[in-house]
Symmetry: C2
Subunit: 103 residues, 2 copies
């Protein structure tokens, strides 16, 4: 069983459109979301955030996506697994994710 992450995630119904759009309006974060569209990834394996980018910066970008409700960030051992909240986003904003990823 995966223990729930201590970091807060918004409930599905609390996800706000403007927050999602803002989170996706950054090249690096958008690249990360594209990577995650192929399945979950450990944070350390996400090269979308830049290879030489310091940990604190990477952590910040992930935080923005998490707080907007775009991804889930779960502790798995000492790593953190990132998962795109595809079904939550699809149910709340149908077609949005597909349109963004398809572009």
């Amino acid at each position: 069983m995966t223990e729930p992450s201590p970091l807060p995630h918004p409930e599905r119904d609390a996800i706000e459109l403007t927050a999602v759009l803002f989170a996706l309006s950054d090249e690096a974060r958008l690249a990360l979301v594209r990577q995650l569209s192929n399945g979950p990834l450990d944070m350390v394996d996400c090269l979308a955030l830049g290879v030489n980018t310091p940990k604190s910066s990477r952590s910040h970008q992930v935080k923005v996506l998490r707080e907007a409700g775009v991804i889930i960030s779960e502790l798995r051992g000492r790593r953190r697994q990132l998962t795109l909240r595809r079904s939550d986003l699809d149910s709340r904003f149908p077609g949005l994710l597909e349109a963004v990823l398809g572009a």
Copy 2:
């Protein structure tokens, strides 16, 4: 014939996804776009930007949408008519506008 506006608009192919998402990530701008989805509107008639909002602030918000390629801003007499660039956006990011407006 409507004279072309002196203000610059990006070509359809130059419209960038992140710029569009950023432009739509603001409540007031999003509200304006929703209004424009019902057809063109003169800027002075757009109450989505707020009734007491000063001219310079309104102008700024419209500028962000225009520079992102979301709307066209044409001089019509001494008014400025705003039009949603629906077909340009649809052809470049299929389904995006529909998803955003439907949410």
